[in-house]
């Protein structure tokens, strides 16, 4: 059993290659798409749990792909991938239903947590069997910490808060992930 199904969308093959290699190595089932249109088709075909979606693509940009995916699938976790100068736009995508955004160059530790939290979010939204209450609490805590951290200004994450966030989140995610059906 894999840790989850991830679709990575980017128009640059070297970016797809390195992210695929990383997440496959982490135990995820990875698919890739090199355009917005290919991403829409792949979501219908592959049924991923989570999409890593580049904002800037030449034919259909990531924001439009996000809109279209949200229109047909409310549960899918979508994490926008963006350059630092597009962070304003990336924050806007949260209002459109993105779960989170990550900036290039990649911080794999943050990316790991964002993906794990995104999958927990999907799991908690779609799990049919009630999880034990202690694990529900871990899940709720993990998501609360993640969401609170996400709204902090970038400077706020570089102090003690960042280490605290990482420690609490890693522990909570580990516990909550273990509680998901199939784990």
């Amino acid at each position: 059993m894999t840790a989850g199904r991830i679709l990575i969308v980017d128009d640059e093959a070297p970016v797809l290659d390195v992210l695929s290699e990383y997440f496959a190595g982490q135990g995820y089932a990875v698919q890739t798409a090199a355009s917005g249109a290919a991403a829409l088709a792949a979501v219908g075909r592959e049924r991923p749990d989570l999409v890593l979606l580049d904002v800037r693509m030449p034919d259909m940009d990531g924001v439009e792909v996000l809109r279209r995916l949200r229109a047909v699938n409310g549960d899918l976790a979508i994490i926008m991938v963006t350059a630092n100068e597009d962070l304003g736009l990336a924050r806007e995508t949260l209002k459109l239903g993105a779960f989170d955004y990550v900036a290039k160059p990649f911080d794999f530790r943050y990316l790991d947590r964002a993906v794990a939290a995104g999958l927990i979010n999907v799991g908690s939204a779609t799990a049919t069997a009630p999880a034990p209450s202690v694990n529900q609490a871990w899940t709720a805590l993990a998501l609360a910490v993640f969401r609170a951290a996400r709204t902090m200004p970038p400077g706020g994450r570089t102090s003690t808060g960042a280490r605290l966030e990482a420690t609490v989140l890693d522990t909570a995610l580990k516990a909550a992930h273990a509680a998901l059906p199939g784990h």
């Binding site: 970016v15 390195v18 350059a83 290039k104 990649f106 794999f108």
Partner: protein, 219 residues
């Protein structure tokens, strides 16, 4: 300048992101006691080198664009300059299965130009043509005299330039190609301007694209 800086930042971010990610993956493997085998290491280093060269090329182009060298003007033979520019691209042309036709009018005369810069401009136009035809095709490089100008034309049989893109393709960091920095045509335009010449797209909409570099003829 702000827009230029933003453009540079954006274009460098992807190659740097890939380089950093590749290095982090190597470190991750080493820390976990799982060093890559020889093949894997060679592939990783190849990917890093490719992206570092890409970033370096962007900076080279930017230097040319931001601080163009004043041309050292001298009479230049168009036919010879075209052939020299194409000679530098022989391997690229063969690999891309692009055939070249050279058509220089007998009465074209000489151009007043910096030979190296003119070669660079022509090579850039031919490179663009190659990239516009991923499945191979034909490029026609021609030269003819029109009044006190010599017009050098590079035409391909690729998809052409869409009407919507035609007005912006000479701007810095505007590209219709994936993974391209969008500096090539901008540099050609800078070279043309420093020679008292111009560059234009002959017709938008395609099929095929033709770029015409117009430079002062010698007397």
């Amino acid at each position: 300048m702000t827009r230029l800086a933003a453009g540079v930042a954006h274009e460098l971010r992807n190659p740097l992101a890939v380089i950093l990610a590749r290095v982090q993956l190597l470190q991750h493997g080493l820390r976990a006691g799982k060093p890559p085998d020889g093949d894997k290491l060679a592939r990783t280093l190849g990917a890093i080198e490719e992206q570092a060269l890409r970033a370096s090329k962007i900076i080279d182009n930017l230097s040319t664009f931001a601080r163009p060298q004043p041309p050292e003007l001298a009479p230049v033979d168009p036919d010879r300059t075209i052939r020299e520019a194409l000679a530098h691209l022989r391997e690229r042309l063969e690999a891309a299965r692009v055939a070249v036709e050279i058509d220089v009018a007998p009465d074209v005369g000489m151009i007043v130009a910096d030979r190296a810069q003119l070669q660079a401009a022509l090579a850039q136009l031919v490179l663009n043509a190659i990239e516009a035809m991923p499945g191979g095709g034909h490029v026609r490089v021609s030269a003819r005299r029109t009044g006190d100008r010599v017009e050098l034309s590079v035409a391909d049989d690729g998809p052409g330039v869409a009407e919507a893109d035609a007005a912006r393709i000479f701007e810095a960091f505007v590209s219709t190609k994936r993974g391209a920095a969008g500096l090539g045509l901008c540099i050609v335009q800078t070279i043309a301007a420093s020679h008292g010449g111009s560059i234009r797209l002959a017709a938008a909409g395609g099929p095929g694209a033709e770029f015409v570099l117009s430079l002062p003829a010698r007397g």
